[in-house]
Symmetry: C2
Subunit: 200 residues, 2 copies
Amino acid sequence: MADPIVFHFDFSSTYGYIASHRIDAIAARHGREVLWKPFLLGATFKITGLPPLPTVPMKGEYSARDVLRTARFHGVPFRLPTVFPISSQAPARAFYWLSDRDPQAARQLAAALYSAYFVDDVNISNPSDTVAVAASLGHDAAAVAAALEDPAVKARLKDETEAAIARGVFGSPFFFVDDEPFWGGDRLDQLERWLETGGF
Amino acid sequence: MADPIVFHFDFSSTYGYIASHRIDAIAARHGREVLWKPFLLGATFKITGLPPLPTVPMKGEYSARDVLRTARFHGVPFRLPTVFPISSQAPARAFYWLSDRDPQAARQLAAALYSAYFVDDVNISNPSDTVAVAASLGHDAAAVAAALEDPAVKARLKDETEAAIARGVFGSPFFFVDDEPFWGGDRLDQLERWLETGGF
């Protein structure tokens, strides 16, 4: 079986959220799995020197409009959260706490966390809110709360973020098909043709 | 007749060049004209605070790969010029010298200048090279050379750049369908649906 498509995303990324609604279906059409890998986008800003998108004059304003239109274009439910952007350690740690033991449950948790933030306006940067989302899926609230403070889980997220950057990831969403990098949900058309053709 | 689609681009913009091969056909499918409007992208950097894309760590390297792949994806001939990026005053001034008198000839000149730079590796930032491209289309070389130094032509390009920025243009390519802004060739799918539906 071919290697999974790797999907790097930050839980505070609007375009990452929209892509999370699309990537599994694209992969499935071509017999691929998707490996979801949250990371901390803020760590890339130190390397690229770029500011967070919402803070850039003109481009930030355009983007606020564009993300709403892009969500409508793809039929993805979306509203801009009251607090945006957020730091995304809590949801990303909860994901990695679960992912080695149960990848499918971790993927479901990621979708639930994204939906809580970008549909229900729940500020998942709060550990208590991330715990509540996990508990709503049947996970043990005390265990999740402990995981968010577990040094091993913290180190795992740090390692995953560093590994993503070492591979060239500077934005969210960011995909790899084998060794080919694709940045942005607007490259999913090229990604799909790459899957169809084996490269072009 | 509906208003033309406005197409803002910089002659040094790789993604602007690729979009220049696509926008007229999209517009024609929906009974629209396209108004080509070169501007100086560098003027936007002072407002956004962003550096030129090729100079951004990680993102610049990705982009050099992405633009080659994007050109192949759309079947557009392309090679990265030896000197890149360039200042684009000369080709943009030649365009505006012609555009009021003969918009169709100006559009043909723009296509020829883009092709000279991104296919034939001619450095059109040199006035003599821009003049040679114009002369190859039958324009009077001495008249074009004089236009590149004409204060009125220089002022026209400055005014067009300021007007584009005032409307919200911060990148190349940038399009308007009526009052709806679309940044990037990767928004032409949304632009086309906008034309089909009148907005979504």
